[in-house]
């Protein structure tokens, strides 16, 4: 595992333990995706409002803790600040607030919203001929929401070639409404589709650097809880659970054992 991705996962675990909050498995599934996005897009961590930046919107807003730890890893703020995660006066809520967290472009949380906002941002980029890229990360559970597909229809119809939808295919809906073969579905909607191993940074990076003439969907096949077998073995029990001290030690051991 990449050193930074390992540290991001360790930060997620320790902050989830310290705060008593967190969606650990869903955060773990997108660590490499977020790292690859921030490694390839134009941005300035010390100048979050830099006008020339590309934009990222976390549509599956409940993975905020993973997002914060990724932003910290890229230098937006010290990871130590995130330890107040979910506290009454913390800047770091369980869903990101764009007025509080440097680097957060849109406040999200209710599923199926961020993707539409991101399509609007990409359309704005096209109108303004800014050339900026807009990337949104959508969960496969979130794709139960009809607005995800509405937004994709608009992105295709408006030929938003600078729009990328990163689809976290972590099988979160195995007990509910599943969407088999998401790549085929996005292709049928008119998107360019690339399927990757969502824990392989090289594959993710290559996909994110592809130039397409239409909206690009990257289906990242991922594992909820990737990095800790205990999490993978019971993702539903761990959906919102925070580890106690003994469990934290075991999870850290699993994580560092690879």
């Amino acid at each position: 595992m990449n050193e930074t991705c390992l540290k991001i996962r360790a930060d997620i675990l320790s902050i989830a333990h310290a705060s008593g909050r967190g969606h650990i498995p869903t955060c773990f599934s997108i660590v490499e995706s977020l790292y690859a996005v921030y490694s390839t897009m134009n941005h300035r961590p010390t100048e979050p409002q830099w006008p020339g930046r590309d934009l990222f919107v976390l549509s599956k807003g409940h993975a905020a803790l993973g997002y914060y730890c990724n932003l910290a890893a890229f230098g937006y703020f010290p990871a130590e600040q995130v330890r107040a995660f979910g506290d009454a006066d913390s800047l770091f809520g369980c869903h990101g607030d764009r007025f509080k967290v440097p680097g957060v472009e849109a406040s999200t949380g209710s599923l199926g919203h961020g993707v539409g906002i991101a399509v609007g941002m990409a359309l704005a980029g096209q109108i303004q001929r800014s050339g900026r890229r807009v990337i949104t990360l959508v969960g496969d559970g979130e794709a139960n929401e009809g607005t995800v597909w509405e937004a994709v229809l608009v992105a295709v119809d408006q030929k938003l070639s600078r729009f990328t939808l990163l689809y976290d295919h972590n099988n979160s809906q195995r007990r509910c409404l599943q969407i088999p073969n998401p790549g085929e579905r996005f292709r049928a909607f008119g998107c360019e589709v690339t399927e990757v191993d969502g824990h392989d940074l090289a594959q993710l990076t290559d996909a994110l650097q592809r130039t397409t003439d239409r909206p690009h969907v990257i289906v990242a096949n991922t594992i909820k809880g990737f990095g800790c077998q205990t999490l993978c073995d019971d993702v539903f029990a761990w959906h919102r659970r925070s580890p106690d001290a003994a469990t934290l030690a075991r999870l850290m051991e699993e994580l560092h054992a690879g």
Partner: protein
């Protein structure tokens, strides 16, 4: 009123290249010239109202000034969470402009009637809620509010009044009639025509509002010593007026049931007691009553 909307937005677009029009396949004919002149600023985007709102949020995030236009119930009731979160919570200043106010689509039945929009949008922080009753009011409010960064709701009607309600300023109500009896009528939007006609020769006060959020507290407070009767063909005004404490207030308007009749706007108003005769009868009834609490 849609023609006036198009006219004002076109005038504004000539000066302000940030303006973008998004339609939900409604009033498209109005914007033929606009779309030919500014194809990159006009999108008849489709019949997917929640996404129209979210997309407008994304446009506003990058400094554009979107106008989203389609039929009222579909852009408000259907999209309540998109308006709440994508526009209000995120403070992305989009302009929502609807047609089909109250019972404008009378014959289409309850699926197309819209009377909760004003009331529910008033509940959202940062939201500006306007019900212009005339084209003149609409033009003034569009110009003053479209670019201020707040999400704004403009409720258009195909049946506006044509009365002079004085200087139009956002957030300010107007005194259209002063009387000496212990009764003040409060109304908003196109129904003013029926109200004003019904009480033309009656000795009452008449207050009029085109802005329901923020409501003009100061104006209401000036008349708080009198009994008050809110007359409205939607929910929202009564709740707004009640923000002023201690009023002795009655309501003449809608009840807790669907209006399942068809016909015309005026026939539905008659059915609801919101025609001239119905309003006059209610006002006369109150004038004949001794001062009592509702």
């Amino acid at each position: 009123m849609r023609g006036k909307f198009r006219q004002v937005v076109t005038e504004l677009a000539e000066q302000d290249e940030r303006i973008v029009v998004i339609l939900g396949d409604v009033s498209v004919y109005q914007f033929n010239q606009f779309s030919q002149r500014w194809p990159e600023r006009f999108y008849n985007m489709g019949i997917l109202e929640p996404t129209l709102v979210s997309v407008s949020a994304g446009l506003a995030a990058l400094g554009l000034r979107p106008f989203v236009h389609t039929i009222a119930p579909f852009l408000t009731e259907r999209c309540y969470e998109q308006i709440k979160l994508d526009l209000c919570y995120n403070r992305f200043g989009s302009n929502l402009v609807t047609c089909g106010a109250s019972f404008d689509y009378a014959a289409d039945g309850p699926t197309h009637h819209t009377y909760t929009d004003l009331a529910i949008l008033r509940l959202l922080p940062h939201m500006e809620v306007m019900q212009p009753g005339s084209e003149r009011e609409l033009a003034a409010l569009l110009r003053s509010q479209y670019a201020n960064g707040n999400p704004s709701y403009f409720r258009l009607s195909d049946f506006p009044h044509d009365r002079d309600t004085g200087e139009v300023r956002f957030g300010q109500g107007a005194v259209l009639k002063r009387g000496s009896r212990d009764l003040t009528l409060l109304t908003a939007g196109p129904i003013l025509d029926n109200v004003a006609t019904a009480v033309e020769d009656l000795d009452v006060n008449l207050l009029y509002f085109h802005t329901l959020k923020p409501i003009d507290h100061a104006l209401i407070a000036q008349f708080a010593h009198t009994r008050m009767l809110v007359i409205h063909d939607a929910f929202g005004l009564q709740e707004a007026v009640n923000e002023v404490a201690g009023l002795r207030i009655w309501h003449h308007g809608l009840t807790d049931r669907f209006c399942d009749g068809y016909g015309s706007v005026e026939s539905i108003r008659q059915r609801l007691g919101l025609d001239v005769a119905g309003i006059r009868a209610r006002v006369l009834g109150l004038l004949q009553q001794k001062e009592t609490l509702p």
